[in-house]
Symmetry: C2
Subunit: 192 residues, 2 copies
DNA sequence: CGCGGGCGTCAACATTGTTGACCGAACTTC
DNA sequence: GAAGTTCGGTCAACAATGTTGACGCCCGCG
């Protein structure tokens, strides 16, 4: 809300309100429309600010994107889970991700023809999928198995959200969790 | 190449040479740089033609993209394979895909924030992964299992090419094929 | 000879990300 | 209190993008 009249104070808040308005508008638009389809001018309009100010604050559209699009999940619900149920629980957790996480994931995937966004996607893959799994595994090829399991888990997100397999999207949640969770479990705790 | 001098005939070939030049230049550039990073003007320059002519021939950049970016694989090497080895052979086939197939896949994934490109990606997923697997399966949930297997297979391509898990990229091919193929096999021929 | 149609070029348009100049108000310093 | 510095903000402009319409050329057909 940058009213042209005289401001009441030099700094309404330490965070400089309009900067925060730009950031939240960008967060919403990038999630909903992705990187390419979101224009700096629309972000500015949504925040009630000037397009030039957006760049002035965040250096570039890409840096604004990187600053707002962070994808993390609570691995807390995974901590107490016994190893034999980890696969099913992880799939359950991924399928239940909210629209925000889905939007960020898709924005990262779609935008990852840009090098820095691709690096962010790689880091996210590492931190969100590989790392939590690897912590629970042991043995000589623990790292490889964590990475294979992460690929498997990502495959489901890909099928549901990127390729949009409509049959899988219509499959009821418990069946999907049971089937795919069993597969994932196979990598985590392979039979002797 | 379209020398400005007088042309030898009205139609040098039925395919109108420069149209083909544009198509092949677009194919190469889209594969190498993706949808967003390739500009119509660069396609035109690479084909030695005028940017306006590119649009005149192909209606729009997006339609040109859709006309050139078709991803198919030879499922011939899968036809004779016994069902018990199908998983491993499919993984082998996917890992060995050439740079062209990789480029098209990535271009489709990155460009799929556009609706029509997303539909092309969905169709490709269906025709390249789901359909060949489903043909080999039987039973009540054959369709679901084929789709789960396709998600699994796509997960490996995602991990290797989109997320670019460097450890997996450095893992030697036979180990990758053996590990991931065994997982895939688990969906195709589940134990009683 | 005329002329219609396909191939190609040129100039222009709106929209994109980004930059630099400018402005006003507030805080600091003399 | 006056001068200056800094910060939040606006405006106009730039180059590059996809796309369109007007124009030109040259062939083969009447």
């Amino acid at each position: 809300m940058p009213q042209p009249g005289p401001r009441t104070g030099p700094l309404a808040e330490p965070g400089t309100t309009t900067r925060e308005a730009i950031r939240s508008a960008a967060t919403r638009l990038f999630q909903e429309q992705g990187y390419a389809r979101t224009t700096v001018r629309r972000i500015a309009a949504a925040a009630g600010a000037d397009p030039a100010l957006v760049i002035r604050y965040f250096k570039s559209k890409e840096l604004l994107f990187l600053e707002t699009m962070h994808l993390t999940i609570d691995d807390e619900p995974l901590l107490g889970v016994p190893l034999e149920q980890l696969g099913e629980r992880l799939v359950e957790l991924l399928v239940d991700l909210d629209g925000a996480a889905r939007g960020i994931f898709l924005a990262l995937v779609h935008g990852s023809d840009e090098q820095r966004i691709q690096r962010r996607l790689r880091d996210t893959h590492e931190q969100v999928l590989i790392a939590p799994l690897r912590r629970r595994l042991s043995g000589p090829d623990a790292d490889l198995r964590a990475r294979l399991a992460a690929a498997l888990a990502a495959g489901m997100l890909y099928a549901l959200w990127v390729a949009q397999d409509e049959t899988l999207l219509r499959t009821d949640r418990p069946a999907l969790v049971a089937h795919y969770g069993a597969l994932l479990q196979r990598v985590l705790t392979p039979p002797v």
